[in-house]
């Protein structure tokens, strides 16, 4: 498409390549190169917004999303605790539409990488010059046979994608009689949101402490130890939630008997509970498998960390929890936001025939709620290492809170407000 590319270069010369200095000589081009983004979570919404913003509208950006609104996984555990409602963590896609991003509510069913087409559930086909997949995760129910059917999945919830399951799990907790046991099963790492299951245990315990003080929270961890913020969570369980929370490591789930509400493990004894919350092992979302970009352990997508382009399929970029992460890089919403910005810059450079930025820097900030207001963070900074061709954490940087505190509770809500706007307006 040489003509199209020339027009785009003209527009980009004024915007993408030198946005800050040269805002004045921008001109929006119609019919610029097309980018189709599949998945409007933290990664996909961010890349769509930044592609549009940094090209001053010169790019034709379409976002395909299955859900009618964005529901945040971060903060969703507060809905289980009862201090927040689903509406508090739901954001409309209208901000992106107003900006000029084309938002299509549909499921992407296939990517034709030969012809450059994204096929939708409606039958419609979208042509792309580059596609970005931010598909999130799918669960490997074949590893938990008792849950490998729709009826069982309605009874034993994951609530690991915020939305209807979050509300349904809250209802189960409300319906549970005092004196009951809530058991959460955590898969082996890597999984979405390393501290998330432990935060969830705190939130359920916070609810029980007030409403059902004779009830228990049982954490059945497929890992050898707490995988994130260990000292901070242990302190909460041993002090604030003493007698409510019990932590058991090395509990690799192999099956669930839904009829008797029993969890079965590789080595440990069976566990029965009143409410079962199973987070099955997961992998990159289905569209990534269909597009042929899953390259690591049949689960994750390897990418070039300068561009987030698939190492296997050209012109397909992959973001967020679906990727084979760099060492010490968590699968988090904040990290997906950062992936989106690196990818947006690289895609704009690629359309202009310019090499990607050789020195990307990403950061992660993750707040966990121990109660409705006491919060602890973990953070890290990741710089590109050109010898290792990956992102590495900077020695001496990053870390965790010395103790959970209310000041960071305020910051956590401010983080949410700002990052939602950063992605969705």
């Amino acid at each position: 498409m040489p003509m199209q590319r020339r027009e785009f270069l003209k527009a980009l010369g004024a915007t993408g390549i030198a946005a800050s200095a040269l805002g004045g000589c921008a001109s929006a081009a119609r019919g610029g190169p097309k980018v189709v983004v599949v998945g409007g979570g933290y990664g996909g919404a961010t890349v769509a917004k930044y592609l549009h913003m940094w090209s001053n509208g010169a790019l034709d950006v379409t976002l395909v999303e299955a859900n009618p609104a964005f529901v945040s996984c971060p903060l969703s555990n507060l809905v289980l605790g009862g201090s927040k409602q689903l509406a508090d963590i739901t954001v409309s896609y209208d901000g992106l539409v107003k900006r000029g991003v084309k938002v299509i509510f549909a499921t992407a069913t296939a990517i034709d990488t030969e012809r450059g087409l994204v096929r939708l559930s409606s039958g419609r086909e979208l042509r792309y010059d580059r596609a970005v997949l931010s598909p999130g995760i799918d669960f490997l129910y074949d590893q938990v046979p008792g849950l490998n059917n729709a009826v069982a999945q309605e009874k034993v919830l994951h609530a690991w994608k915020a939305g209807p399951q979050t509300v349904a799990l809250r209802r189960q907790l409300e319906a549970m009689p005092d004196g009951g046991v809530y058991a959460i099963s955590i898969p082996r790492a890597p999984y979405r949101c390393p501290p998330g299951p432990y935060e969830r245990a705190c939130q359920v315990a916070w609810y029980f402490k007030q409403a059902k003080p004779r009830s228990k929270v049982l954490i059945l961890d497929g890992n050898e130890d707490v995988t994130s913020k260990k000292g901070l969570f242990m302190k909460a369980w041993n002090e604030d939630y003493k007698g409510i929370v019990e932590y058991r490591p090395n509990h690799v789930l192999i099956d669930v008997d839904v009829a008797t509400m029993t969890l079965k493990f590789e080595t440990a004894d069976d566990v029965k509970a009143s409410v079962l919350n199973v987070i099955p092992p997961h992998r990159a979302g289905a569209i990534a498998a269909q597009a042929g970009v899953i390259t690591a352990n049949n689960r994750w997508c390897e990418v070039d960390f300068l561009t987030f382009e698939s190492i296997k399929v050209p012109k397909i970029h992959v973001l967020g929890d679906a990727i084979q992460a760099a060492p010490l890089m968590p699968k988090s919403g904040h990290m997906a936001n950062q992936h989106g910005k690196v990818a947006a810059a690289a895609i704009l450079n690629a359309f202009a025939g310019v090499a990607p930025n050789p020195t990307p820097v990403l950061n992660n900030t993750c707040y966990s709620f121990m109660s409705d207001k006491d919060v602890a963070h973990v953070c890290s900074v990741h710089q590109y290492d050109k010898e290792k061709k990956t992102l590495v954490t900077v020695p001496g940087s990053g870390g965790v809170s010395p103790a959970a505190n209310a000041v960071e509770g305020e910051y956590a809500f401010a983080w949410a407000k700002n990052i939602w706007a950063d992605a969705l307006t």
């Binding site: 040489p2 590319r5 020339r6 270069l9 980009l12 010369g13 993408g16 390549i17 030198a18 946005a19 800050s20 200095a21 040269l22 004045g24 000589c25 917004k49 913003m53 940094w54 904040h334 936001n337 950062q338 910005k341 810059a345 450079n349 202009a352 025939g353 310019v354 090499a355 990607p356 930025n357 020195t359 990307p360 820097v361 990403l362 950061n363 900030t365 963070h377 953070c379 900074v381 710089q383 954490t393 900077v394 001496g396 940087s397 990053g398 809170s401 505190n405 000041v407 960071e408 305020e410 910051y411 809500f413 401010a414 983080w415 407000k417 700002n418 990052i419 706007a421 950063d422 307006t425």
Partner: protein
């Protein structure tokens, strides 16, 4: 005119293929006449700064609860980051994050945020 325009475009394409950085410089010069940024990617300051926007708001314009960075003086921003980096200013998180950036990166980000409209 048309012929000249298309000749110019084909030169750009040729440059784009052979000399990516030259292309970036070409656009900078042809469009503004300003000096070319002294960085490998002319958008490096923008790209670095975008990392901060997750918490501090797009282009450093915060919606509240986190300090806005847009339009602050470059010197102030550099000093604040260096104070965090050296542990001179107490903080919950910025001491840990500031240590992840080089002095040069802090300079570039501070300059970029200083130029944004608050």
């Amino acid at each position: 005119m048309h012929e000249r325009a298309s000749k110019r475009a084909s030169i750009i394409e040729e440059i784009a293929v052979r000399k990516p950085l030259l292309l970036a410089s070409f656009f900078l010069l042809s469009c503004s006449g300003h000096a070319v940024a002294q960085t490998a990617d002319p958008n490096l300051p923008r790209n670095l700064s975008a990392g901060c926007s997750a918490c501090h708001g797009t282009n450093g314009v915060s919606l509240g609860g986190m300090p806005g960075l847009a339009g602050q003086s470059k010197a102030d921003l550099v000093r604040k980051m260096q104070d965090y980096k050296a542990g001179r200013t107490p903080s919950t998180i910025m001491q840990q994050l500031a240590k992840g950036y080089t002095d040069e990166q802090i300079d570039l980000m501070a300059g970029w945020f200083a130029a944004q409209k608050p």
